[in-house]
């Protein structure tokens, strides 16, 4: 009986782990659908990371494999470098698009994989990804003027409050001061307008709801920080820069930019960027810096301010140093952005798969229907055929499903349509182990063994067969996992986890239940 306690302990432990692994999934999917797509809420973000994910083929979305056209690459340019730049541009743009969990990944030497789940506006996304990046340098307006512009924008928005979506007004945006009430007054960054990271989506919606350019003075524009910045102790957010509307210089004049350590003599360990300009650029830059010492010059990529260093001095030679509070990774990114102005070779779409939300929903519904119907038939069949023992098989099956989902969530797996098919198949195949055992027990009973011996022999003899037969299927699943892509990987994972869970539930757990039932009394007959 001691081993029995051990086995019960293991089962309880596994159940506990499974509940723990599935909890975020329940929490996440019990939220209303509209709320789930919020990309900024940190609690939701964490839940989303831990919850079971739906694949692009179920949620709808876009999968793009892009490749640098190497035949158009100028001599001396490194492919790796071009891919780096392209990825930085893509990241920057997709971030503006507000997609939950985009994936941007290097594939091999010259390819980039982009996955945008749940994206509806395909045309806009394709445009966004394909455009050449626009790199501009714009002077930041002086503090007093900046304040005036923000005030003016605020007043204009208050006057057009009918244009502001009701959902925003209901969500703490006031009618009297729609803009300024959203802003965050950072004591350490006095004078600059900023917004907390969690308020950013509201700000973006607000800015989209009115025609900002028509409200602003003719020579002004606004730009947000490209990435979250530290506003003060413990607060992160974006600065809202008021910029010249026309670029003071464009990215075409940048001939090179690299990350350097020790550019700032006062802070020799810090990272910065050393930028080289073309001859034409050097002359523009000389005038620009000479006339504006002490002001900030914003480096703007695709309308997002990457950095706004202060002009320290007139720069005559076209060799500029950008220093600030960078760590080396940030400085490297900035250097990439500066070089990224134009990609030296076009990106080609070598693979693209889009699933519309309608088809995704149809697939989920179809998969669920098939799963439920398949399960009901199998359950009824097992009950009719094996009666009492069938109940144990069904119990094992339910546990199997539970472990399968828990394992999938624990491995951060993605549920895809082939994955659902794998689960439905598991329902059909999982009972095989029980069938093998039960048929064996029946044989033993027919040959005149007592119930206890028959059950013991049935399990012992069937076990080897079950192991061998499952390992071979596991080999197929492993190969599929290794060679398959996206949806098929999802299939391989569910099939694999299903098989392992199956060996445990159908053999060990079912045996425990049998032994527990048979230990109480000396059974003369068995419902099998």
């Amino acid at each position: 009986m001691r081993s029995y306690r051990w086995r019960l302990g293991l089962l309880v432990l596994l159940l506990g782990l499974s509940v723990y692994s599935l909890l975020p999934t329940f929490q996440f999917y019990s939220r209303p659908e509209a709320e789930r797509s919020d990309t900024r809420d940190p609690i939701l973000k964490e839940l989303r990371g831990k919850a079971l994910k739906l694949g692009l083929d179920l949620k709808g979305g876009m999968h793009l494999l892009l490749e640098i056209d190497k035949t158009k690459l100028p001599p001396g340019v490194q492919v790796r470098d071009v891919v780096d730049r392209a990825m930085e541009i893509l990241r920057n743009r997709i971030d503006q698009f507000g997609v939950a969990e985009p994936l941007i990944q290097r594939q091999g030497e010259d390819r980039i994989l982009v996955q945008l789940p749940g994206l509806l506006d395909k045309e806009r996304a394709v445009q966004l990804i394909g455009q050449m990046a626009q790199l501009e340098f714009k002077l930041v307006k002086q503090a007093a003027e900046s304040r005036q512009v923000i005030e003016r924008l605020n007043r204009a928005m208050a006057g057009r409050s009918s244009d502001i979506p009701d959902s925003l007004l209901a969500d703490s945006v006031s009618v009297a001061n729609p803009l300024t009430d959203l802003l965050y007054n950072a004591p350490e960054a006095a004078g600059s307008a900023a917004v907390l990271e969690e308020d950013l989506p509201k700000l973006q919606k607000l800015l989209e709801s009115v025609n900002v350019d028509s409200i602003l003075p003719r020579d002004a524009s606004i730009g947000l920080s490209a990435k979250p910045e530290r506003l003060d102790q413990g607060h992160f957010g974006r600065f809202i820069y008021v910029l010249n509307r026309r670029p003071d210089m464009t990215g075409e004049v940048v001939s090179n930019a690299i990350m350097r350590i020790g550019l700032d003599p006062r802070d020799p360990g810090s990272a910065g960027v050393s930028m080289t300009l073309s001859n034409k650029g050097a002359s523009i830059f000389r005038k620009l810096t000479g006339a504006n010492i002490g002001r900030q010059l914003a480096i703007v990529l695709d309308n997002r301010v990457q950095s706004a260093p202060r002009i320290q001095d007139r720069i005559p030679q076209g060799e500029a140093r950008i220093t600030g509070h960078f760590d080396s990774a940030e400085a490297r990114d900035l250097a990439i952005v500066l070089r990224a102005g134009a990609l030296p070779a076009p990106l080609r779409v070598v693979e693209e798969r889009t699933v519309g939300p309608t088809l995704g929903r149809d697939s989920v519904a179809g998969g669920m229907r098939a799963g439920v119907v398949g399960a009901i038939i199998v359950v009824l069949f097992m009950l009719i055929y094996y009666r009492g023992s069938g109940v144990i098989a069904i119990l094992a099956l339910i546990l199997n499903m539970f472990f399968l989902f828990a394992g999938l969530a624990a491995l951060r797996g993605t549920l895809t349509m082939p994955g659902i098919a794998g689960i439905v198949l598991t329902v059909g195949m999982a009972v095989d182990a029980n069938i093998l055992i039960f048929e064996r027990v029946r044989e033993e009973l027919r040959s005149g063994k007592t119930v206890k011996v028959a059950v013991e022999n049935g399990f012992n003899r069937a076990w080897r067969t079950i192991l061998d037969s499952n390992v071979t299927t596991l080999i197929s699943a492993l190969v599929l996992f290794r060679f398959g892509s996206g949806p098929i990987k999802g299939f391989a994972i569910t099939l694999g986890i299903g098989l392992i869970a199956n060996m445990y539930t159908a053999v060990f757990v079912a045996r425990m239940v049998f032994e527990a039932l048979l230990a109480r009394r000396t059974a003369r007959s068995l419902s099998i």
């Binding site: 045309e123 394709v126 394909g130 029946r442 067969t465 071979t472 299927t473 599929l480």
Partner: protein
């Protein structure tokens, strides 16, 4: 107690020559079908190309749609209508990869259609664009996946059982693969990535089935000194027959649920699975076991002949 086929004594092995012929006939017919069709119909995954599926807000007439696409520059478009003429699948060959930022094909297709059917709205169900090189890469990967999978199983079964059995097992897998491919050619379905996944799953299922029979043969062989013969194979197959049938049934139930209710995306996968489960069950008996038996008998004959030879030499 409800039970099927307990105590059955079907002399399966006696008919194995007919089964060989039957399997051979299907596979030969498959080859002929592939030749007549000029090769397999490869899906976009492997052949490369464009596949666009739209659901329109009203039924459109297929011929008119074809004209609309031809006017839009898609003369080679293949059109497949379903759901009362509202949903259309359009396939277009695409020899070149487009530059990122150019309009996606789905957009151009929709514009071409809207030029002929003013005001029609289309809901993009899916779009698949596979460049010719990616298509070739995916083909290679699928090929290696199938080959490695079979090889892995051969090694595992070879280690756990006698080599003759492993040959029988893998021959049955090759048989299942060829038969499914033949049926796909008969029904003129496309070979896609889900079909390859179905092939590998069937390989797993079929070998599973084979192992159950092999295990029983091995168990029966332990007790006896003589070489296994047709009777022993028949006995083992009959003893495991009820399990074979019940398991095949539960799997077929779930596969049919997928086939009839799972939706369009999974339909072909489920179809291949259904064919595969049927033939996988059959091949465990009539390819794997039958071949293992013939190999065993052949080896036994050679051993006896060698012994007789040795005896003669001695004499």
């Amino acid at each position: 107690m409800l039970q099927v086929l307990v105590g059955a004594r079907i002399p399966f092995m006696r008919y194995r020559r007919y089964a060989y012929l039957f399997s051979l006939a299907i596979i030969v017919a498959g080859f002929v079908s592939v030749l007549l069709h000029g090769g397999f119909r490869m899906g976009v995954d492997f052949a490369g190309g464009i596949l666009v599926e739209y659901r329109f807000d009203r039924p459109l007439e297929s011929d008119h749609l074809r004209r609309a696409l031809a006017n839009g520059g898609y003369k080679d478009a293949e059109i497949q209508a379903s759901e009362g003429g509202e949903t259309f699948l359009v396939r277009i060959p695409a020899p070149e990869e487009r530059v990122a930022g150019e309009k996606p094909p789905s957009q151009r297709v929709l514009e071409a259609i809207q030029a002929e059917f003013p005001g029609v709205k289309g809901d993009l169900l899916r779009e698949e664009v596979v460049g010719p090189r990616v298509g070739r890469e995916l083909s290679h990967r699928a090929f290696w996946a199938v080959l490695l999978s079979l090889l892995g199983i051969l090694i595992y079964v070879g280690v756990r059982y006698e080599f003759k059995f492993a040959i029988g097992g893998v021959a049955s897998l090759a048989h299942d693969t060829l038969v499914i491919l033949s049926v796909i050619s008969f029904t003129n379905k496309e070979i896609t990535i889900p079909i390859i996944a179905a092939l590998l799953t069937i390989a797993g299922y079929s070998i599973n089935d084979t192992i159950v029979v092999f295990d029983r043969i091995r168990e029966r062989m332990k007790g006896s000194a003589r070489a296994p013969d047709a009777d022993l194979f028949d006995l083992s197959i009959n003893q495991t027959l009820s399990r074979t049938i019940i398991t095949a049934l539960t799997v077929i139930f779930t596969v049919e649920a997928l086939l009839f209710m799972g939706g369009s995306v999974i339909h072909d996968f489920a179809f291949a699975m259904l064919v595969g489960v049927g033939f996988g069950t059959y091949s465990s008996v009539y390819v794997a076991s039958a071949l293992a038996l013939d190999l065993t008998i052949g080896a036994e004959r050679r051993r006896l002949a060698a012994e007789a030879q040795a005896a003669r030499v001695k004499a």
